[in-house]
Subunit: 378 residues, 2 copies
């Protein structure tokens, strides 16, 4: 049967195009998923394209249908995610599809959002439309892995990023760390931040590096800058408190866990600068990601030191690793490394990664991978 | 002048072939260089090929000339290194070239060996032959970098190898390190050893890992296994003492630097097993590489722990780094890392590497590079 396409295979190129359209808004749709759609007329010719650009703006389907106009009648809509059937900030897409006279709906995935969860496809089937689902389902699930993870677990999808020398150091023994990686890699990190809804550091990173943590304008608004600081022992002169550049949230422990006097002073001073404060109880990575998910963050970036990074890993708050490896040697028994203790005692407990092939960023090498599901910490 | 070749460019494809031939004996010619040669008849047709297979066996030129026979008369020999003009273990190649009636000699490099050093080319010019040199010179110098380094510096060329997790660990906090890398990477390391004349570890690696350090038959004889152990505090049951598998050399400090009693016992016990002992004064990486160069080792592989690796780096005994990076996380504040202290206090002192693009070895990634000349330790 070589060379003979199954009926479903004819939708693959159109679904690929819909995925491309969806990707145009990467990092900008939270709390919503990425969605792209194409509309074909009754002859199978492309007559409309659309994607969801930002929460509050129209979904992908109405845009594509509007572009198609009357040509949609009797046609097909190919969409990366099940059309919604509920009234949210925008009207249900199922009704727009029906109103346009579409006769066939092709989707990659059902929407895990409990307000949809198959109900959209059912509504369309009930109305007599042909519904085909599962086209490029794994590609679509990969594209929306952060959204799906948030909806399923109630926590944001965590990406842990570090830059290290080839001998695995993230600083010199004296703490100097600017810069390990080169300009291309640093520019790439700005773009990575633009694809995230929040960037998280611990108090130690604020004290040591005084980072800015913005996308340098690649994303507007800038991602939320988050400091997880149990103790609130933070320098009041840090760049992160400049709220005109980007918003900052400081997550801290309940007062009884803190040394009272300094911390109350810091709390008041930060509030005066317009920094948002959020008490977490307990003040742990897991609870931070629940809070950020509640605020609609699909994907967050951990740019923290080894202690917080290990805690985030151990609490299941890291799904993806992004390591920039610079072709240099730093050495140093006491030099900082990417991770603190993970409590492993045998090699088969090592956390495995499904790494993509290395990517060159100037002189540096980028290694990216998802933590293997079976070896993720419990 | 696009598309028009300079007269010298016509030799490039033939020199490339000669370099390919030379590479066939990689790791097996020490103390000699790699050399390949092709012979073209007076019409420019290939009539002979040869390479130097092993010290004591004929050089590349006589083999290629013998294959060419009478067709060499009036022809050209293209050879990767200047033909020798001295009687060594084999007769001078210049005389074989003259006897064959060759009219043109094309070489990549002059031989840095003080017994040759331009004398070979001069002998050929004096005899009336056309001599062209410098064709693919940098490729040829790269191929023979270990030989050239040994001849110029009196020390072997050092390759430092390690296998680490993506978070820069070479063991778990409890010392477990088997295996960080996968089977493909470990097989590749056996082949790397086959391209080296000696493999060096410190006493700590013998005590911790009891390694075999052979090429698993990829090289015959196996590379010399070397233990640099100032103290001679070594387990007498180690696999390295099995001399039927491969020869082992233990380099140790002078007796006054050692705790006498145990060490004298160990010395006698190792000698009884047939292990060769070599006193080094001082017992440092630099002096070891002088000793190994004296023994004819062009290229040696450091497979040691962080302390010895740092000392080797700081003493200029490492020219090349080979790092296998496994896609897993180990963590551990106290877990072993590739290097100990290098004494750096500012980022611009970092030792730079000219890395080749990463190579996949199964799931693992291989990063290889030479230390940049300008940032190498003094």
């Amino acid at each position: 049967m070589e060379g003979q396409a199954t009926p479903e295979q004819r939708w693959i190129p159109w679904m690929r195009r819909a995925l491309q359209l969806a990707a145009l808004a990467e990092g900008r749709t939270s709390p919503n998923p990425l969605v792209g759609a194409v509309v074909l007329d009754s002859e199978g010719c492309l007559v409309g394209e659309g994607f969801h650009a930002r929460a509050g703006l129209p979904h992908a389907e109405p845009g594509a249908l509007k572009q198609a106009g009357k040509a949609a009648r009797g046609g097909t809509i190919v969409v990366t995610l099940e059309p919604c059937c509920h009234q949210g900030r925008t009207p249900p897409c199922t009704e727009a599809i029906l109103a346009a006279g579409i006769e066939r709906v092709v989707v990659a995935l059902t929407d895990p959002d409990p307000r949809v969860a198959g109900g959209g496809l059912q509504r369309l089937r009930d109305a007599g439309l042909e519904v085909i689902s599962g086209i490029l389902a794994s590609e679509a699930a990969y594209q929306n892995r952060a959204f799906m993870h948030r909806v399923r677990t109630g926590r944001s999808w965590g990406v842990l990023k570090w830059a290290m020398s080839l001998d695995g150091r993230t600083a010199l023994p004296n703490g100097a760390s600017q810069w390990i990686s080169g300009p291309s890699a640093r520019a790439w990190v700005h773009q990575l931040r633009a694809r995230c809804d929040a960037v998280i550091v611990g108090g130690g990173t604020v004290r040591a590096d005084d980072p800015l943590l913005t996308s340098r304008g690649h994303r507007s608004p800038e991602p939320l800058r988050v400091v997880l600081s149990r103790s609130l022992d933070l320098p009041l002169s840090a760049q992160l408190w400049q709220q005109a550049i980007a918003p900052t949230l400081v997550a801290h422990a309940a007062p009884e866990d803190r040394e009272m006097e300094t911390q109350v002073n810091n709390l008041a001073a930060l509030q005066a600068k317009g920094v948002e404060l959020q008490k977490l109880d307990p003040c742990e990575p897991e609870h931070l990601l629940r809070e950020l998910a509640r605020r609609g963050c699909n994907r967050v970036l951990w740019e923290c030191g080894p202690g917080l990074a290990s805690a985030a890993l151990q609490q299941g708050c890291v799904q993806e690793i992004t390591a920039v490896i610079a072709p240099k040697l730093l050495g140093g028994e006491l030099a900082r490394t990417p991770l603190g203790d993970l409590g492993l005692t045998a090699m088969d407990q090592a956390l495995g990664l499904n790494c993509e092939p290395g990517l060159s960023l100037g002189q540096d090498l980028l290694m990216q991978g998802q933590l293997s599901p079976f070896s993720a910490p419990n």
